[in-house]
Amino acid sequence: MAKIDLNNLDTMYFDVLREIGNIGAGNATTALAQLLNTKIDMKVPKAELLDFSQVGQAMGGEEQIMAGIYLVVEGDIHGSIMFLLEEKSARTLISMLMGTPDGGTESFTEMEISALKEIGNIITGSYLNSLSMLTNLKIIPSIPDISIDMAGAIMSVPAIEFGELGDKILLIETEFSDDIKLNGYFILVPDLESYDKILTSLGM
């Protein structure tokens, strides 16, 4: 019997998942700061268990354009992780990383997309790394893929994965700030068995 039921999530389990999110996002921020060689502050991430219908609004509307970086996770746990950035934040990050001017509303170049993928790779990598250290579980991420599209469309991918487990999705919102404010979201979707493994390894 699975320990976890996302539709009726125990407060204690939710706190644990939120804490994993906090630590993961914290490490991701450090990695990002090192990559950009700048100081980045991060607000305490907000973890929310949302109904599917609320997900779009939580990100500023289903039609808000976002960059979603998606990786499949293998090893001791199975599932996927996604890191989403608002389009504006994505452009800011690219221009900081590449030292080029902000592309405005032009469509992203191949080079910029590749840079964004790398940013996503580093951020999700450090997130997963902290999860792995915390739980002592082996976690192997795949190479990342990226989609720049409407929030609703990108979110449909993890939502469908959550949809096989229940009617809610666990979203961790992170606000990074330096001189410029960046908004990012993490979505980790382990399968049910992996949820159990994570909780068990933490002594729950």
């Binding site: 539709n7 599917f52 219908s53 997900v55 779009g56 509307g61 289903e62 039609e63 354009i65 979603g68 998606y70 499949v72 996770v73 199975h78 599932g79 996927s80 469509s107 795949s142 893929d145 990226i146 989609s147 720049i148 599209d149 409407m150 929030a151 609703g152 469309a153 990108i154 979110m155 449909s156 991918v157 939502a159 469908i160 994965e161 949809g163 096989e164 487990l165 229940g166 009617d167 979707v189």
Partner: protein, 161 residues
């Protein structure tokens, strides 16, 4: 005054002309628009997964192709649509990322589209037009008055099917 009714993810609603109905940012999900062209009673379903039977905890019927389409049809018929006159248009089922976490041969988008077609065929509801697959998101608007299905995508403008 006509209004625009909004359908969320894993949701379905009824819409009578002159009102219109919309769902925003379809990715791998499929938006199924159905109407009775005579009484102009229609509706839209936004399904996420192909099959309710392969999953436990499937109480939200609007989440699945098999149960969602049937429920939408029942809702339309109950509100003045004639079962034998119904027609449909479908959109969505994109593959947003090059890979998926499941090693299924088909992407979930393709499987959603296939499941929707199967249930529409079982119900003998013709598909008048479709815009499915590919790798981009779609916002759709359906007008039961004319049967127009407007599809908007990022960087691709809009089209009418």
């Amino acid at each position: 005054m006509s209004e625009m009714i909004k359908v969320g993810m894993a949701d379905l609603k009824l819409c009578k002309a002159p009102n219109a109905i919309t769902t925003l940012g379809l990715g791998s999900c499929v938006g199924i628009a159905i109407r009775d062209p005579q009484t102009k009673v229609g509706g839209l379903a936004h399904i996420m997964l192909p099959d309710s039977k392969s999953i436990s905890g499937n109480h939200n019927t609007a989440k699945f192709a098999d149960t969602g389409v049937r429920e939408l049809v029942n809702l339309i018929v109950k509100n003045g649509g004639n079962r034998t006159r119904l027609e449909s248009k479908i959109a969505g089922g994109a593959k947003m990322f090059a890979f998926s976490s499941k090693s299924d041969l088909m992407s979930v988008g393709d499987r959603n589209v296939e499941a929707v077609k199967k249930v529409l065929a079982e119900l003998r509801i013709p598909i008048r037009a479709q815009d499915t697959g590919d790798s981009y998101g779609r916002t759709v608007e359906y007008y039961p008055e004319s049967g127009d299905y407007i599809i908007k995508s990022v960087g691709k403008g809009q089209k009418k099917i």
